[in-house]
Symmetry: T
Subunit: 147 residues, 12 copies
């Protein structure tokens, strides 16, 4: 049976494709979801793709999947840099979590260099646009297989 | 036809008039809404006045109005100083946004001097109580007219 | 008639007992609620016990009880360290508020040493697990009695 | 009888309209003076409009008007960020003072985010070009009326 | 047989009741000692209550009791924020130590927010005046019972 | 014809597999080279795999390949955090560069969180051991194809 | 023949007696001049008492007296904390200089704790109102006598 | 009857005259005591002159004199920069306290620029060697007379 | 016709040759003016040599020459490190400006390492005494020729 | 005749052998004293071995030996990092002083990396347990011989 | 006989003319060498022109010439900001050293403002492209002549 | 059979005896090598004495000896303060490493107080000139014997 992967998207990612295209490109979140489904399918995994602008709802969802899913890919958007609550949520569920970002956050404003989520995630992939998600799925698949 | 302006109020502003009157005065949020409607009317604009204590709901509302409204006046309250998500929302919608504060935030605690929203707003008006909102509507009207 | 005390719990505390047991122990939030009810009963108080992962909902609840309740015990979890909104909510309601933490936050990561809530609470109790809540109820009862 | 308002302009503002037009626009200081006179007239106030590049002369002028004038609008230019002497002058005269800036100083270089004058002014208006001055006159008129 | 608890008081606490009553209240150190004895008695413990203004004497006393006593309540006063020596003493004796403060140190000057002792104590109770000590005795009693 | 990719490895990576296996695992640099060759082959690329402990030699090699190769995968090891010279080299050659790390550098010592290379690379992949390199090759292949 | 002492007063000191009397008292600068003349007379010295709000004029005056006078008492007001130019002027003339302040600058805002002038003056006297000047004249007289 | 003044000397001052004469001169602490007695006599005051290397003993002595003496001159030596306990002692006794230093502490190492005692003393006099003490007695006499 | 170059000298430079000769040498400002005239003559340029201790006057002069002169050599003395007003003046006139210093400011006190003027000047020459000015004239001549 | 060396031990070192054996080992202070006596004897020196938990007593002892002894080995324990008074004492006596630590303080908590004593000692030896003392005696012997 | 001058070029300068031409221009390192030879010839000096990307090789070369050459012009590139080793090498050879940079490093990224080499060089010339080197040769020639 | 000890010397140490003799003395590196051989011989060890100015070569050598040698004494010179690569090399080889410095680095410039190597070495010996090396050999011999 396929394993379910939660792909969690944080604030403002719903506007993707319309918002600051020079930084994030023209791909929409729907496009990313599609690519993820294809890639996941290829890895024998299923995708549970969600987005919320509410920090606490992202926390809720992480809790919700902790027994039913096999792993998480998280792009917490701006909450990456400010949310200790999300960091605590990631460390409180016992699932492997991979952090992704569309843009290279380390090449942007100083306050985007820091990530609370990085402290508790397996690894981070950033800067490759939608491809960041697909690489994260690959990394997660490999991680799950080796555990 | 009148242009619609979103006036967005952040956390704790619903208590206005009851909360720390030495800092914020006795005017309620309802009073401010009324003054804004009168002033907007005078400028040939309509007001869509909202308040939420939830950061993500404020983000949602900014997204919601980005095609239907002509501009935004935002008093993000305490989220002013901590929310990169709101800053990203402001910069992702392509509307003119004016930042207001009832009190002079630069004369209060150190952690209230910094504003993420200022980095992407047209300008900031603070320290004049309810009048801050009215001046912001004037500034927004002038900005829209000149664009 | 018994006085009502709001016991407010922030993000991730719903997972208590399952999450990082070496830091927080095996007690669940339900266990804590029970202990609190017994202790409150002993003090002639009633307990209104709530938990949310959403910062704004915690703010809402503080507003909601400001006329009906006699005091608040708050464990804001990760929001302790990042939420000026919660700090403003605490100072805007005119109720006595006691801050609690299960673990000794001053002995953990540097970013957990700072508390915005401490600036406006009566006092802080941390490090005693579920007992922190009971001691807080005692402190609150004494405070209310002496006011 | 009309009340006199000092509008004080600091270093380099005399070059306005020629200097960095992408930041400050093409309006000259003379244009601003004219707009201010019209707006002040509308408010039943008179304008005393001055500019100096010398920090101490700005201090002198603030002292000079403290008994004769009803209020001050100040754009201290670069001295905003470095002059404790001007801050002391503002707090030593007992007149209401409104701080203005043509550009949004909070969206420029880090060293322009801090303002000594903000600590002692009623409020700050920035980012609206010449209109910042007119809004400041409105705010000052309202403040004087309510005092 | 009753267990002995050292209650250790640091610099200036001998003046309690006369010193800055707006911060610390009118209770004297003798009053606190009495309350502690009653509460300890209730918990089946005995109290060894001491005060010194000399950092090294406080260190000496911690060493002295490490085999004879069952636990320590410490209010290190100003040494809380500066003494690594006391922190080392607390960690070198193998007794449970609870840190107390009369006032809420987190709501006072910045330099009182930091505590070296917190890093090695079980927990901290502050802000409840003399009651802080009694709660600390309760916490200590519970801790000893559970160990 | 296959495109050539430089895979550049910095200081101490030659000891891989023997050094701190709890942090870096047991895979040797030879193992990684093999995986990379297979993956590159799959992508229709060829791999030029090098390692040096000398900062300047890494700079030399980047210069050397700037006309002959199609892209670079770089794991600069400890030089990641200290070498402006390598950052300048990366930005002076006009090739796409992807930064990799075996471990999640953001979850290690504070001084390993900062990366000069991130400021000029396309993106960063870290935390997945040898797989980090393979994912980087995939990202690079996609990038080259889309340019 | 009497020795001439320059007593140099910086920005806003001309308003003394009217400005923030809770900080600086009701004594005017004229009163201070009188006290200084009496005290200097007692010490067999003459006083050259000046005030300017212009930093550069204070520098000019220090240069002017460097051959004609025997020493300087300086209250540079707000320039104390920001003027490297005054510090250089003090060190470039080869006269003994004593720094005075009416208020205890070390007990006021953080930015008033630092003094550039202290780095090159003989000593500092602050907190004693007008008496600070008289003590400075005594100190200067003793210094000149011993040189 | 003469008023008693405590002159309190901190660590290493007992070695005065032998220690780093280029910084502190050749005067011994006995010489200073003599000068102080003469000056105090002139002011109709008596001197209680003490020295200790133990921080807590200095605290003890401040407590001891709080009802019997009329004021304090304190040279806390190195404890000036590190002792919050002494600062608390100064603020807990209700006597006027003047801070003195032999050398100009603001012109020495960075860590000697900060003084905890300054935050609660009337004023500070530094840089004039033994004369600093005599000026402090004058300042104290004037202060007591005016209270 | 010869091009006119403004050589602008800031505070305390008028004392050159008398002031701290170990840092600045014995050359007077008149000597430097002479050398500059000779060197300028050689370059087919004329020199307009000025000095002021008043920050605002330096700003005035920069404004004054912006249409009549071909370039500026500026030694802003102590204002180099503190004056945003001078930096703004340099960037507001559209002339090439070369920054000079007699001493190597980067080898002196920490607070002299930073230069606001450097941010907007073409380049900086420091450490060569009077020769710094001559090299600056050479650099300016070359720059003007190439523009 | 043998030269006398003071070996001075600071706070908590009296507990050595019982306290945190993973950091400091099982050797007692008595064991160290014995090793030191043997080693000193070998060097033709005598040892005066003392320990105190009181900062001021350590200062007293340094003063006491300044004429009678030939040098000092000091392990100031926690006072190493906080005591300017001990640093002043070391620099005020004119004896060679060698600083030792049992553990490698540079590999422990950040606040243990800084040493005030290092600024005035000849050198530092740390990390070798009791052997640190013996090496210090060797270094001191060589130093005394060469002076 | 002509004096030999080492002109030392650090990392990435070999790519000059191809690398970031908007920052460094199109001139190659060969062009600069030619200009230097001509200018040196004019000054009666000979040029020994070298480049390396290896920090230690630059150190080696500085050592190598310390007896044979008359001075050094150094453009250490990125090592300017990070290499204490080069700073030590410059101070260990007893030759006059002039620091040059093609671009104005003070107007670039924050981390390029600091220079270790500046602390030990005679002076710094930056911002004039290849001309920086020629001016440095002039400065060096004058320095050698005057020594 | 004798154990081999690598004694590794970093940048500029080859100039020892000629370079800044007031800081490092007149002893050459050859002299140190001789002393080390004698001392090592005494300890039944052999010395492999090397020096390089190239960071990467020092890393190479550490790798090279990790199976053949019994321990390392390292004086990394300026790389001590900047090289994470050397720190990683020290921790990646599993040999005991003792850090030495000729001068007391803690009493020199601020940037020399920090050592990356200290974080992973057994201990540090500094300030005793050539003797530092000999003491390090003693410490290493003892360490090896006890392991």
């Amino acid at each position: 049976m396929s394993q379910m992967i939660l792909i969690l998207n944080g604030p403002n990612l719903n506007l993707l494709g319309t918002r600051q295209p020079d930084v994030y490109g023209k791909t929409t979140l729907g496009d990313i979801e599609n690519s993820c489904r294809i890639r996941a399918d290829f890895q024998g995994m299923k995708v549970d793709f969600r987005q919320s602008n509410i920090e606490g709802e992202l926390v809720d969802w992480l809790h919700e999947v902790r027994l039913s899913h096999a792993g998480v890919v998280i792009n917490a958007g701006a909450y990456t840099h400010t949310s200790i609550a999300l960091m605590d949520a990631v460390s409180s569920i016992e699932l492997p979590v991979v952090e992704v970002h569309l843009s290279n956050i380390h090449a942007r404003e100083e306050f985007r260099h820091q990530s609370y989520i990085s402290r508790v995630a397996i690894g981070q992939i950033c800067g490759f646009g939608a491809l960041s998600y697909e690489l994260a799925l690959d990394a997660l698949a490999a991680h799950i297989q080796n555990s």
